[in-house]
Amino acid sequence: MTSMAATGTREIQYREAINEAIRQEMERDESVIIMGEEIAGGAGREHLGIVDAWGGPFRTTVGLIQQFGNQRVLDTPLSEAAFVGAAIGASSTGMRAIAELMFVDFVGVCMDQLLNNAAKMRYMFGGQVKVPFTLLTRIGAGFGSAAQHSESYYSIFSHIPGLKGVCPSDAYTAKGLLTAAIRDDDPVVYFEHKGLYGQTGLVPEEPYELPLGKARTVREGTDVTLVGISKMTWVCTAAAEELAKSGVQAEVVDLLSISPIDYDHVIESVKRTHRLVVVDEDTPICSLASEICARVAEEAFDYLDAPPSRVTAPHTPVPYSRSLENNYMPNEARVISTVQGLMARG
């Protein structure tokens, strides 16, 4: 997408970009620590020569324990409520803790700590505390992992006041947004997409921040605005390429931040294109897609030539069998036909 050829950039994977952001922030700031299940792996077996046996469930944390030791890279027992809560507690007393929740599907076991402590402490305490806490977690269907390992619950986090959230869509945004998330003084939930770990892109070697709360336009167009979230940005781009062949110029906005939401960026685009399709892998009801459509309908009402529309997962859990799951996630065909439907209204 964004092409970038400054000095000191090179092509690395999304996964590596995440790793690099954590590593550089840990180098830069002693108060940054990271904890979670299998973050390093084989915990407590240094005496057997075992160290970093796992490197993170998706190898995003590989090598950190070697560099920073087991006091800053902490494998945890299988106890999300405790260690997420502890990371919040540590972050409110001087650390800048990162915790990893292996799959966002498991958030229900530690939701209270996020909802009632991380999100509310600063407000309830009248501003006495900062909670510079980052929760790493992952989303995305398409791997035959069924209903408890495939969800994309980010909209729940957009809903909760006091939390911020980002959904990087490629290696470049993965690093820049994670750097910003770690440095940010508010709790930020960082959603990795399982389908993007192998994505490669040009990434600066130096640390850099991409601002939280800012969307970006990854393709310009005049006829319709496609808003993508996380991997769905790629679906939008592919659909846009295809649509271009039949003369429809789609603008693609990569939302990047799910709280704060960059409404202005989307609205500015819709004011030019007069049509909106939000592509969201989460289920449809009370989703980010609903939110953006509603906001655009309210604030750009007079600019819309067609109904603001959504392409999302259906209101069902994620099925296991490929023959079902294949149709579950939004895909190019659905985006294209939705756009065509809007264009057909004239």
Binding site: E37, E38, G41, G42, A43, G44, R45, L48, I50, A53, W54, P57, D75, T76, P77, L78, S79, A81, A82, D105, F106, G108, V109, F143, G144, S145, A146, A147, Q148, H149, P284, S309, R310, V311, T312, A313, P314, H315, T316, P317, P319, Y320, S321, R322, S323, L324, N326, N327, Y328, N331, A333, R334, S337, T338
Partner: protein, 335 residues
Amino acid sequence: MELDRETLIKLYTTMATIRNFEERGIPETGQRAMSASVHSSAGQEAVPTGICAHLTDEDYIGSTHRGHGHCIAKGVDPKLMMAELFGRATGPNKGKGGSMHIADMSKGMLGTNGVVAASVPLAVGAALTSKLKNLGRVAVAFFGDGGANQGVLHESMNLASVWKLPVIFCCENNGYAESTPVEYGLSVANVSDRAAGYNMPGILVDGMDVFAVYDAAGQAVTRARAGEGPSMLECRTYRYYGHTVFDNPLSYRTKEEEDHWRARDPLKQFRETVIPQGDITAEELDQIDKDAEQLMEEAIKFADESPMPEPAELYDDVYVSYPKELLKRGSNMEI
């Protein structure tokens, strides 16, 4: 240990079936590129086998992500399980669940479960049903040494004890939660040391020895059926393979350790105990092994020949009743 021939055969058959299911079914599933999230219980066969031998189809079990053994021991048809793993419409879950969600309500199998320890309160609830309806059924909640550190287990053990429910909390302590050794993650020597904190017996048992498991489970089941309340059973066992098919267990454990446990293989131990006693011959056991192998061939064939679910089944069984059009309204679904 006075077991009749029939029971002995049943125990061995169950173990051999589980072993074969894991060793054949999992790679075959992988070859069909169905899923990454399949967990082998090879090595742990004695645990579900010894426990479920005391249960009927009316009794309940709640299971884990590593649940093929629980299913088989509870009587779920391996053919149907294979179909489920292959994502076929003929699976007990019609292909909607896969390895981590296999359920068979007709067998009291309340589902393998992808969230660690999440099925524990379900088993407690099933035990409550039994108690309130006076059904005399028991429920077994399986969980791992990793699961031992989940909050819901603590709450469930306390609740079951307060309500004196017929539940057995069975910890399959295989030494690891993914790559995390139990001696790191668990603050106490044995999971069963925690049972006292809930006023229930905590029995530590050799989980590689199906007779030891069978014995201990017998006591716990008797206690439960007698209305005397829950027990905890910790079975020390070992998984022979990685956490899933993707990891190399030698990155976090040693060859010596693996060898040590493999030397105590539950099927091997069974043979070494039973054959000298003269109850069953080696040939008979060989035949059971062969039958189990054969069953897997049939299961694979059955699964391969079974249809995939129709795409529109995506919308089935979300609810018992719900306007179906609402499941896709506004999503711009294709089907």
